[in-house]
Subunit: 359 residues, 2 copies
DNA sequence: CTGAAAGCGCTTACAG
DNA sequence: CTGAAAGCGCTTACAG
């Protein structure tokens, strides 16, 4: 923008072996440290000439302020927010993280991410490390079964937001899906389309999400007078290959299901993969959206992980700005959406287009 | 593990309004700060009785050491590594980040992530912030067109690793795909299957990756004596909907392509979506793997972003341990893989199974 | 085995 | 408009 575009690389000033400090700049500019701080931080009460001299000295030394030092002085809190998730391989979590990151940009806060791999021990370890780093706020998709270990932190005022699943034994902010409504709509649609033998596949049942969605399914099924065949309820299915294998097994058994309900995106993708392979004409409904849902005509409960992350991030920022208050529970919509061109009947009933074609 | 499992929540000790410091612990334990540090950090030369007294005092005060202070004293560098990527919504980047995170665990380093949205200005801004935070090492998927702004940092010894694309105007470590081999294999397979009218869709052409892959395609096409129809080479296609729209447009034109080559995962998914919608029988080959590639029988150049992230992370750790050396260029394999059951002929030639069925 | 003093690189709270 | 002193919460480098 300013200055001529450099032709051949200008002879770079001899790089200091070690980073220059504000004191170095002060010495070179012939002023005090305080004046350097004023000049560089855009504070008032600096003569233009002084300001310029400082700027030149800083540039010559390639001065880069040390945020650790600044933040230590300003209250021993870092300018980063911590996010603890299951793992970035799962698009649910990565989209969630993307939403959080975007929310933090508004306040120029950084994002520290750690994965738990759904291991409660790791959750405690990474949370501990983040708290030692004094993150400004902490967002957690919890896996531990007891969060009383965070009570001290909560009462100390660190904004603590739980995401996707509530904490146990701790009153804190939490952002959740309206799982019950999503599940009920899915079951309603399947039943309306005539399905009675619905296979339900869930993730690790130790987690709140799987339990709540499964409970909601049981309730909805009961309401519709469906018998619950235990063999059609499979839990602890955590990744795409496992879900695919589960679906294949169910399809190969006598009296296979006429429909599948995948309780998260990894599971639904696995089920779809199985149906594409076998050419089965079973209906599929999935919780969470996924890449090819629309093209494959798969009906999904279309929650939006990025929106959830954004909501959680903004909640943390609000706490930061306004101080703690009564813990809040935010319920985000998760409603059934028919993906695809819509030229066919009720999605839940219609076999996915590709699967039908393959039959 | 130790102590009885708590029944009703034990009366929690009155939480301190503000975090306890090491000095507070020292006062309560009746020892000096140095002794507290020794006891809590597991250093030798502390009597067992003292160690225990300190531990009790720390527990009573819920003492949590402040890493900012520790790290400031220990050289003003944080225990985190910075990762700058395009955006977490893209599975390529999120898998890359997952690989980096896993590599860092070995050294108990944390991970700070920032997205550029492929904006050079943002790259500079987030890199600047990370350097001010004094990250131990910096991993960057670059978008800027000039990286001389990092020369000072490089010569100061901060491990700097570029990922997926090389830096410009700066000698630094870089981890890349063997794009040429991957592209050549893809074109070879398509030509061997009889394709002459191959549509190629690329991401933002300002980026190295798109340029290199497109150049490799041109070269391979020339080697096979294929004419290059400009209308079949589409660039600056950045997301799934755009890729889908592009494919639909090409299919609707006179003399549509008989095959598509998607130069990254977002594009390939969009092309597959288009073919699933239209029922087209065109062949598809994609750069980068994607979720349903196997089930859909799509042939892909199967690179592994998590492996790339892991390699880049380990390279940074090695620099950290051994100090700088000559910049290294790591070329990771990216080779054609036939996804799917393999019961059909050369993948590249065969229309994807679902697409065929839909025809 | 233990402690007093100094310092990491900034900002705060004053004083002029 | 400018600066000297103290301090954030730890660890380093000594001394005993």
């Amino acid at each position: 923008m300013e200055g001529p575009h450099p032709g051949p690389a200008p002879p770079s000033p001899p790089a200091p072996a070690v980073a220059a400090t504000l004191q170095d700049v002060a010495r070179l500019a012939g002023v005090s440290a305080k004046t350097v701080a004023r000049a560089l931080n855009g504070e008032p009460n600096v003569r233009d000439a002084t300001r310029e001299r400082v700027a030149r000295a800083a540039a010559a030394l390639r001065f880069r302020p040390n945020r650790l030092a600044r933040e230590l002085r300003q209250g021993a809190r870092t300018g980063a927010v911590g996010l603890v998730i299951g793992g970035l391989e799962n698009p649910f979590y990565s989209h969630l993280a993307a939403g959080v990151e975007r929310a933090l940009r508004a306040e120029d806060l950084e994002l520290v991410i750690a994965s738990t791999d759904d291991d409660p021990e790791r959750e405690r370890a990474v949370v501990q490390t983040m708290l030692e780093r004094r993150v400004r706020a902490l967002l957690v998709v919890p896996v531990a079964e007891d969060h009383r270990y965070l009570e001290g932190e909560r009462s100390a005022g660190t904004p603590l937001v739980f995401v996707d699943r509530p904490p146990t034994g701790l009153a804190a902010d939490v952002v959740l899906w309206d799982n019950r409504t999503g599940v009920r709509q899915a079951v309603d649609a399947l039943v309306a389309a005539g399905h009675r033998r619905i296979a339900v596949i869930a993730d690790r049942i130790a987690n709140f999400t799987a339990r709540e969605r499964l409970a909601a399914f049981r309730e909805a099924a009961r309401a519709h007078g469906l018998g619950l065949e235990p063999r059609l309820l499979v839990v602890d299915v955590h990744d795409v290959p496992a879900a695919r294998a589960t679906a294949l097994r169910l399809l190969a058994a006598p009296e296979p299901p006429t429909a599948f309900f995948g309780l998260n995106n990894r599971i639904t993708v696995g089920v779809v993969a199985a149906l594409l392979t076998t050419g089965g004409a079973q209906a599929v409904v999935g919780f969470d959206d996924f890449d090819l849902a629309e093209a494959l005509g798969t009906t999904v409960v279309a929650n939006d992980p990025a929106a959830m992350g954004g909501r959680a991030g903004r909640l943390a920022l609000a706490r930061l700005a306004a101080g703690p208050g009564l813990p809040e529970q935010v319920l985000l919509p998760a409603t059934l959406v028919r993906r695809g061109s819509g030229e066919r009947g009720p999605a839940a009933a219609a076999p996915s287009r590709a699967a039908a074609a393959l039959a």
